[in-house]
Symmetry: C2
Subunit: 495 residues, 2 copies
């Protein structure tokens, strides 16, 4: 255990999580590791939440993305959060956000490090999970990198959690690159597998004020098996990509894939196993089980991301045999995994989920009925805006058909009509490239909407054309009537 | 004149505009030079419009951006356009678009060349204005580059207009770079003045099927002198940037500037002349008069764009003394001037205009009352999404105060809350960086809204918080009531 701190001076900083949590003060800005459950603080932030059972400390908490082990929930439950960014998925925290008790800055994941570096959020304390601290103080990350580089560079003080459940030979799967140290230079990644950095995070050891040992595995990722709907969506995407190959716009190894998180993403990657595609690569944010299944199948030759969130089975398969994967995966800081520059250069194919799409191709990824936050935009905008192909997927209905995911007008726009190339539901696929809004409406309603809502959508569109016209025909007084009906009657269906 | 075609074989292709216009056939896809009035087709597209007075040919027309000399209007008036992209500013064309007679694909200017290269829009005929055709067939562009490189590479046939009013020594102000020839490589521009290409456009001379001489200057750019409002907006921006310098986030030469087109942009750049900033650079889309005024004043040391649109006085000053400016300006293809990669790397400060902003920081740049197209998104999204600072400006009211430009909810989102850092009106400035939606609402209403609308905006916000809550409190049934009132009564003000 202690051999994970070869530096004698640093060994004197070892303390308990409760002692380390005393470092936090009210109104501090705290930066923490953790990206979609991977590599998050396991004990120190939890200790802060416990401390707040009797105290009243409120911090601004900046992470890579969401945390695991109910940490966000515990912090929110104990009123320890003043502001939170850039992403979350926790039920308790979500409630506090929507009640207006926690301020949530829903941000492109590639952008947060800029706000840390330029002093918009000067980090008082950073909390980073690592596998070990080297003699010179440099850090070996664990299962995510997230914003750890920007936090290490900019934090006044650092609390380090050493996770001894992570084997030391994890060193080498990371590619650490500081955008700050290379200002005004190209980020020289020209294929998903390119490495441009080092394998550890540089840090001034004087900043390290506390070291805490823990041995807690990442909270397991959800893996919902594909159902009929997600399989149909996956099939529609695979068929579309096969046709792109046939048309000569893509070759048989496609372009690097990015897949959002969740069962649709898992189904899409699962669908690739039985496809004719070969030598696939991935330039994404997060590895899920399906990533490693696709690697093991031989279809996926290299995968790049910022974090992993997998099932316990997959965790053991990968983490305890990490040497088998070292030439096939790399983890990067999230301003590199989600870098608009690299995404554009590689011509990534981005597949992200939406809550609702409208008939003109605008996408809402975040807000329920226009007001309530679900999780956040995450990296979907980083990819959608700069990908070669920006694909959004959703089931055509939700809540047993009471909600249509295709609506006259979305109640919140995260991805504008300008950034959406393809919309896919289990019903079919709408290829919007090169189409004007009136063309898009017809193909989205025809191909993607559920039968139960098709006629009413068409009626809205036709009346809007007739009564108002314009580039994007809308009846503003009726545009949200489906959502109003849902709020009032529990369904978007007319009585 | 004829010495502008040193190649004998090509000299045989010289013909009149009317003869060249016979090359167009119904349903063709035509790519043309022209970006914000600069370097557009002056006679051949006009001849097509005339031909259509008795014929019925409809084309898809793809340009850099808007055209000058009423060309778009003449084509629209004579029903020669089936589809138009990616930008326009013409009154007649706008009417036809909003009537549903012309399909308009409103697109990020950096993206159009992708649709040309990947075959979504296979170009049948390209029409390019040049200053001369070299012996090997290569082309010297004039006052814009736009999508000329992609058109030259992909068109089946090319019609060349040689503009003899452009002096031959314009050669050298262009930096021609083909993204296609450098796939998966960094676009190696690390400062606004970097050159990475050649001074002519490579072309297969066999593609050139017609050459037409003309000597028509670009249609003059509008230069409305600053008024009280635009000067107040400019002052707010200069004061904000001065404070960024004071805070240490920027140095005294700022970062490369991008300014949208129009009187606000001219006022902002005008305001820079009397500022303490020095050694400014510009990485933008278009040069206006103010660009050259700022260069002549010594404040602006280098400017990069894709086109110029200036007054006749400025045109003469620059074009006829172009050697004086060759080390201070460069014109680039629009997928380079607007490249997300380069914009992000240089940390451009983007200043763009909006039609309306909402209290949560979403911006509508394109649609009047949600339906009718004004001009198009242009390059504003290319910049806003990837700049270091994304600033949007608007007067707080329009139409003698009958319209508030700050509204409860915008009727069309071109730039989502995630992409807007600062909103500026003549009333003041809202710095939204790091703020959650509820914080943004307060600062936008307080700093940017006009007094006449402030109370009602605040009332909307407070009732939305109380009655619905959420991350982004809205009363959906009331969100567009201001627009509905405007449509019905001619004003957003309550009776």
């Amino acid at each position: 255990m202690i051999e994970r701190i070869p530096n004698n001076e640093l060994r004197s900083k070892v303390m308990t999580a409760q002692e380390a949590a005393q470092i936090f003060k009210d109104q501090m800005i705290v930066g923490s590791s953790g990206f979609t459950r991977g590599g998050d603080s396991k004990v120190v932030l939890k200790a802060l939440a416990e401390r707040n059972q009797i105290e009243n400390i409120k911090i601004t908490l900046i992470t890579g993305a969401s945390l695991g082990h109910d940490t966000d929930g515990a912090l929110a439950h104990n009123h320890a959060l003043h502001k939170r960014l850039p992403f979350q998925v926790d039920r308790t925290l979500r409630k506090e956000i929507n009640n207006g008790n926690v301020l949530f800055v829903d941000q492109h994941l590639s952008k947060t490090s800029d706000l840390i570096s330029n002093g918009t959020f000067p980090i008082d304390v950073g909390v980073l999970e690592v596998a070990e601290i080297l003699e010179d103080g440099h850090l070996v990350p664990t299962t995510s990198i997230g914003n750890n580089v920007a936090i290490a560079e900019n934090a006044q003080k650092l609390i380090i959690e050493i996770n001894t459940s992570i084997p030391k030979n994890i060193r080498g799967i990371h590619d650490i690159y500081s955008v700050n140290e290379h200002q005004n230079k190209p980020i020289n990644i020209c294929s998903a597998s390119d490495r441009i950095g080092t394998d550890t995070i540089k840090v001034d050891p004087k900043k390290i004020v506390a070291i805490v040992f823990q041995d807690i595995q990442d909270a397991p990722g959800d893996i919902t098996p594909p159902d009929e709907q997600t399989e149909a969506i996956a099939k529609n995407i695979v068929r579309f990509l096969e046709n792109e190959v046939k048309q000569g716009r893509l070759d048989n190894s496609l372009r690097p894939l990015q897949c959002g998180i969740g069962k649709v993403a898992n189904a899409v990657l699962g669908g690739m196993i039985d496809s004719d595609f070969e030598n696939l690569t991935m330039y994404s944010e997060v590895f899920q089980d399906s990533t490693f299944d696709l690697i093991d199948s031989g279809k996926l030759v290299f995968a790049s991301a910022s974090a992993m969130t997998v099932s316990p089975e997959c965790y053991n398969r990968v983490i305890h045999h990490i040497d088998n994967y070292k030439d096939k995966i790399v983890l990067r800081p999230q301003n590199i995994s989600n870098s608009p520059e690299v995404i554009a250069r590689l011509g990534v194919i981005g597949i992200n989920t939406s809550l609702e799409c409208d008939i003109y191709g605008n996408v809402n990824s975040t807000h329920v009925i226009g007001t309530n936050m679900m999780n956040g935009i995450g990296g979907s905008g980083d990819f959608a805006r700069n990908t070669y192909l920006s694909i959004f997927v959703t089931s055509s209905t939700a809540k047993d058909g009471k909600i249509s995911s295709i609506v006259p007008m979305v109640t919140h726009v995260d991805h504008s009509e300008h950034d959406v190339d393809v919309i896919v539901t289990e019903q079919g696929l709408a290829d919007l490239r090169g189409l004007a809004p009136r063309e898009r409406a017809k193909v989205i309603i025809e191909n993607c909407a559920h039968t139960d809502y098709k006629q009413e959508l068409l009626s809205y569109y036709e009346r809007a054309c007739q009564e108002r016209g314009g580039q994007t025909p809308h009846l503003l007084e009726e545009a949200f009537s489906w959502h109003t009906r849902l709020r009032e009657t529990g369904t978007m269906k007319k009585a």
